[in-house]
């Protein structure tokens, strides 16, 4: 049995104390070219170095950041890109989040897949060649709770090497149950580390509590999950400060939960039902700088680039930092089996199927890896 993360009873568990978001922004903007050059030259980089790498002063040195990010990524991960597909289970949600198509107020066709329907969707992904799926759901535990996920994982574990979830926050013992059932990773994004923005865009539902949200990744790790995924939704607040906050969150988790693998996602806001317009523009150069900076700060963190980004950009970034790509994604529950289904969470921008994405990865001299885990690890 994998023992959960042990947090010493004698040493107090440190709380994650993030500096005020405006302070983070300020710290970044105060960095000049000298700090960037120094940060580029270091073997191990501190949070101050990360601030410099995220700064406007680093923009002219983007090729230098890219070169180092590529070197580190190749050294730590090799010439490989992992592939996965999301499986949307339910669009029911009682959170009121301005940016999300599943927000409770949005008039979209709502659907929760029955276990049999979810299995059928999963079979389609399995037949298409996926070995790693990410189960996604809105937050409505009465429609889709831990019992559902546990049963689904048991049904899917023979067909998939790895099953991740991106669902509502659960209790520690519930995560432990899901781990035993075959789920290995949990994505739980803070969306924005700016408390004020967070409160402005999360108008209702349990997700509206910033601090409650912030503590979940550590809970996931304590429950024994192999991997926890952090993320910030780009387009809500200063992306540079989001990057620095992500770095602080990563570094804190690394100390607290040394057995747990960490990943970061960088979803840029896409058109979604509800008509939310991004509050800040985040261009491709910005996104790239964020990815390079985090790679330089944490050489071991998995970096995920989803189909929210278009083909040209995703192909261009192969080998420069990201380690995991989704492919052939549909964000509508039931959308794999029924192409006429409606009610997506967000629009996607890379519509290629698994084979096409794999071919693009090979064309860049990398190996598309579908299977990087085995259910045998969790069988007992």
């Amino acid at each position: 049995m994998t023992s959960p993360v042990v947090i010493s009873p004698s040493s107090a568990v440190p709380l994650l104390r993030l500096p005020d978001f405006a302070t983070l922004s300020q710290q970044i903007r105060e960095c000049g070219p000298n700090e960037v050059v120094a940060a580029l030259g270091r073997e191990r980089r501190t949070v101050s170095d990360l601030a410099a790498l995220l700064s406007p002063a680093a923009e002219t040195m983007l090729p230098d950041l890219a070169r180092q990010a590529a070197l580190i990524t190749r050294q730590r991960f090799g010439r490989v890109i992992q592939l996965y597909a999301p499986l949307y289970l339910s669009s029911y949600c009682f959170n009121r989040c301005l940016y999300c198509g599943f927000s409770v107020d949005n008039e979209i066709p709502r659907r929760v897949l029955s276990l049999a329907e979810a299995e059928r969707e999963a079979k389609i992904l399995s037949r298409r060649g996926f070995e790693h799926i990410l189960l996604v759901s809105g937050e409505a535990p009465a429609k889709l709770g831990v019992d559902y996920l546990e049963e689904l994982a048991r049904r899917l574990r023979d067909d998939f090497a790895a099953i991740s979830i991106e669902v509502q926050p659960l209790k520690e013992e519930e995560y432990a149950r899901l781990f035993a059932a075959g789920i290995t990773a949990v994505a739980i994004y803070q969306e924005t580390y700016d408390r004020r923005t967070y409160e402005e865009v999360h108008l209702g539902g349990p997700k509206a509590d910033y601090d409650r949200r912030l503590e979940i990744p550590a809970r996931v790790a304590r429950a024994g999950m192999r991997e926890v995924g952090l993320g910030a939704l780009l387009g809500l607040a200063d992306w540079r400060a989001e990057g620095l906050a992500l770095g602080l969150h990563l570094a804190w988790l690394r100390k607290l939960a040394w057995r747990t693998g960490l990943t970061v996602s960088f979803p840029r806001l896409r058109p979604a039902s509800g008509g939310f317009t991004p509050r800040v523009m985040v261009g491709e150069k910005n996104l790239s700088q964020l990815i390079f900076a985090l790679r330089l700060f944490d050489p071991d963190v998995g970096l995920i680039l989803s189909t929210r980004e278009e083909q040209r950009y995703r192909d261009g970034m192969i080998g420069l930092g990201p380690t995991r790509y989704s492919a052939g994604s549909c964000t509508i529950p039931g959308g794999y089996g029924d192409s006429a289904a409606d009610g997506e969470q967000f629009a996607i921008d890379d519509h290629r199927d698994l084979a096409e994405v794999a071919a693009a990865i090979r064309a860049k001299g990398h190996d598309p890896v579908r299977k990087d885990w085995d259910a045998i690890f969790q069988q007992r």
């Binding site: 010493s8 983007l62 890219a66 070169r67 100390k255 261009g316 420069l320």
Partner: protein, 256 residues
Amino acid sequence: MLEIAGRKFRSRLFTGTGKFASATVMKAALTASDSEMVTVALRRVDLNDPADDIMSHLDRDHFFFLPNTSGARDAAEAVRLAHLARSVGNTNWLKLEVTPDPRTLLPDPVETLKATEELVREGFVVLPYINADPILALRLQDVGAAAVMPLGSPIGTNQGLLTRFQVAIIIEQARVPVVVDAGLGAPSHAVEAMEMGADAVLVNTAIAVAGDPVRMARAFADAVRAGREAYESGLGRRGTTAEASSPEVGLDFLHG
């Protein structure tokens, strides 16, 4: 300032009491070292002759005694010594040494973890002496070690920081102070450890057997201060020109 289990130390040089030519030399050298933390082998403490006892030569207001379990071969022996330390030394601090191989005196990781777990449960402040094994260091922190003390090289060898790469990982991952212990034979070795970010170093043999232990103690004190100063002032930069030979990465695909 260095803080271990809530206790603050101005000096980051820990010293030992073994191998000195006399108690007088020991006292003079330890005073010159500015060290506040002095480790004492429990097996050397003579309960039947308090006047001849090592500890009676050192002022307990000035030096904080850290009893060690030197000589213990397994967890059970170490735990018994710890109980002795608590009763005679009136302290719950302990440098845990479990060294079953009398030749190399290398620490036993399995027994050390077992003993740490037990002693933390009993309320001891445990500073385990370990090989420079990062996972062991993490496991010890998980069970409540107050610091970890990885070796630079086998005790008494004066070989310096042979474990540099492993110690760097331990430091990077540590949630408690890291004290590099054993094998530091010259002040330059101590500087190296401190520049890397070690929280403190423990030096005994190199001082005790030096031609002039008092001056060597002073040299180590200066070295530890210099190394720490360099670490805190942001050492570790190297020229970006070192990367010049790697190829340019094309970013032409970027829009906006």
